[in-house]
């Protein structure tokens, strides 16, 4: 889990010259074929994320459409292997246990019987005789339950549950029979959202603090630098565990906060250095001389000139955070139970590989690898385009 994103940004980026900078960068970017291809892929992912967030796709990922561990058929390309029979047998054994334990020779466990009648049967029945002859326990609900049960409602849970479930799915099903394809789409939405939001949060935090420290210097710088070195000195893993302990709730928001609050230090260092440099520049001195308030200088004058650093940093952090989410899930600090992410899928699926159930691991791992690859390539292209120094080399 080496953190590499911190140091991979060139430390010195020449000052930009006005509006032409972004236009020029775009021109450079357009020439980068890998960059263009990757941006198409990333855009495709973002469309999926967007549709999924709107609920247009994968909103029913939680629905159990297939049988447990339904194998993949890739729309008919694969011949699905029937699921292991051991489970089915286990179900039989369970049913057997229930039968002997609860109903003697009676039917399925879920067949509703008049509860009072059952109690009476226990009190008077032959099987229970001797074991539980006269219970002194009064059931205040007995009357109600008898009325409810007396409607003759019959429910066969096992049959109903298994009715109309598909025996194979395009990408297979998970342990509950949920479609791995929709789950992966939903997971992509969550993971990408988490990665980007956390990166945004960390960058905002780091930029704000870095700007203050770099621009004001003095006491402010001392205090912020101190906070930076304290955060930097505590082992990352412990910091994460501690922040996770503070944020008791589980969910997407928590994961974003954990990653964002612990990941700002790298951005801080970079932005602080940038502000330190710009502080002495003429345009800043001039603005000061005109009595422009500090707030405006900080965020309207200097910030646009360092924003490309922040932009590259956001995308580098996003990649790191998407991968970190997997580790967080492994440690039990992932998304909530009714949410799904690549991390939660990988952690659910990793033990299934030995049992021959590779599809969930493959789907989540593959989607993640594809996105992280294209996103990293895009980041590279973006950095090359934004950083004129590297351009000179080619």
């Amino acid at each position: 889990m080496r953190q590499t994103h911190d140091s991979s940004v060139p430390e010195t980026i020449p000052e930009k010259s006005g509006n032409g900078f972004w236009a020029l960068a775009w021109l450079r970017f357009r020439d980068d074929r890998v960059g263009v291809v990757s941006i198409i892929f990333v855009a495709a992912f973002f469309i999926i994320v967007f549709l999924s967030a709107l609920g247009a796709v994968a909103s029913d990922w939680n629905k159990e459409v297939g049988i447990h561990d339904a194998p993949p058929d890739l729309w008919g390309l694969l011949t699905p292997v029937p699921p292991p029979e051991a489970m089915g047998n286990a179900a039989q054994r369970v049913a057997q246990t229930i039968k002997t334990a609860q109903h003697g020779e009676a039917l399925l466990p879920s067949t509703v019987v008049d509860p009072l009648a059952e109690t009476l049967a226990q009190l008077q029945g032959e099987r229970m005789e001797g074991a539980f002859p006269e219970s002194r326990v009064v059931d205040p609900l007995a009357e109600t339950l008898r009325e409810l049960g007396a409607e003759g409602m019959v429910l066969s849970a096992v049959e109903e549950k298994n009715a109309a479930k598909r025996t194979s799915l395009p990408f297979g099903g998970d342990r509950w029979g949920r479609d791995v394809l929709t789950k992966t789409i939903k997971g992509s939405q969550i993971s990408i959202t988490v990665g980007l939001s956390a990166a945004l949060l960390a960058t905002l935090l780091g930029t704000l603090l870095g700007a203050l420290a770099g621009y004001y210097g003095g006491r402010t710088d001392d205090v912020l630098n101190w906070a930076y070195s304290v955060f930097n000195a505590i082992p990352y893993l412990l910091l994460i565990l501690a922040v996770a302990a503070v944020l008791q709730q589980r969910g997407v928001m928590t994961v974003i906060l954990i990653l964002g609050l612990t990941g700002w230090t790298g951005v801080f260092r970079l932005i602080r250095a940038e502000y330190l440099k710009h502080r002495g520049r003429e345009y800043v001195q001039a603005a000061r001389a005109f009595g422009v308030p500090d707030r405006r200088i900080l965020f309207l004058h200097i910030l646009p000139n360092v924003s490309h650093v922040a932009l590259v940093k956001v995308s580098l952090l996003a990649v790191g955070f998407i991968k970190a989410e997997v580790i967080l899930s492994f440690l039990g600090f992932g998304v909530a139970v009714d949410e799904v992410s690549w991390g939660s899928m990988l952690n659910d699926a990793y033990q299934e590989l030995i049992l021959g159930r590779w599809w969930e691991l493959a789907a989540a791992g593959g989607a993640m690898a594809l996105f992280v690859t294209v996103f990293s390539l895009l980041t590279d292209a973006m950095r090359d385009a934004l950083d004129p120094k590297i351009r000179e080399t080619s």
Partner: protein, 312 residues
Amino acid sequence: MTAYIIRRLLQMIPTMLGVVLLLFVLFNWVGGDPAYILAGKVFSEAQIANIRYQLGIDRPAYVQIGIFLKQIITADFGASWSTQEPVSDILKTRLGPSLTVLLPLLVLGTLLAIALSLVVARFRRSLTDRMVMIACTVGMSISILVYIIIFQYVFAYRLAWFPIQGWSDSLWTNLTTFAALPILIGLCVGLAPDLRLFRSFMLDEVEQDYVRTARAKGLTEKRILWIHVLRNASIPIVTYVMAALPGLLVGALLIERFFSIPGIGREVLLAVERSDFPVIKAITVYVAIATMFANLAADLIYKAVDPRVELK
């Protein structure tokens, strides 16, 4: 220079105080109450009170912080709350296995990455460079969890090239047998990002004037790269590797768990699970000190190599 070092050392004191304070706050008001972990299945309030008294966590916060500071100064963190093992022993015994995996990994990984980065720097902007870079990007986009699962299954179980898991007392056996697969996985996970980073260091150097001069003098490209560029690029590389080590010590957690390596990462997780404050305190303090000194050393190396760098 001496004055600079002294100033930097003095600056470590407030940082350390900050670490102490943050750690204390996090694990006292936020972490699980250790008394309830140690109390077992069934207990009474009196037993909880007794455990608190025994551990000294019923004392006022300032007294506890005072004790903590004294522990840092004397480097004696007492004994683990749950196992009675002296904390100094814990560190001694867990550091070895961690380093057995990490040092070879760092050395091999760095050397391999340097060699490869020189090769791609030689062919910079060519198709080869591009392909290698894309391959690296793909390699680093796969989660470490997936690497571990698949490598353990394929190389240890299916092909039986390595043992599944385990650890011995002999350094040699560990290096050749038990640490081998973890190191291999570490290489796969770490090589790609290292290579990308080192390549950018190399490219930075390739642009420098001295390279042009050397070329003008008629030196071969190979010689320029392997001698001149490498010498200069090695500074950021060494500092980067040094700065990465303290974090890696704690971070190799997943590998340690899957391969049953008794390292620091597993110990941290275990200590957090058990709310074993003495162990957490000691590991945090030592890692913090290691981090601070690594940073200082990195700055000093920069200074030593490039006198233009201003030490502030």
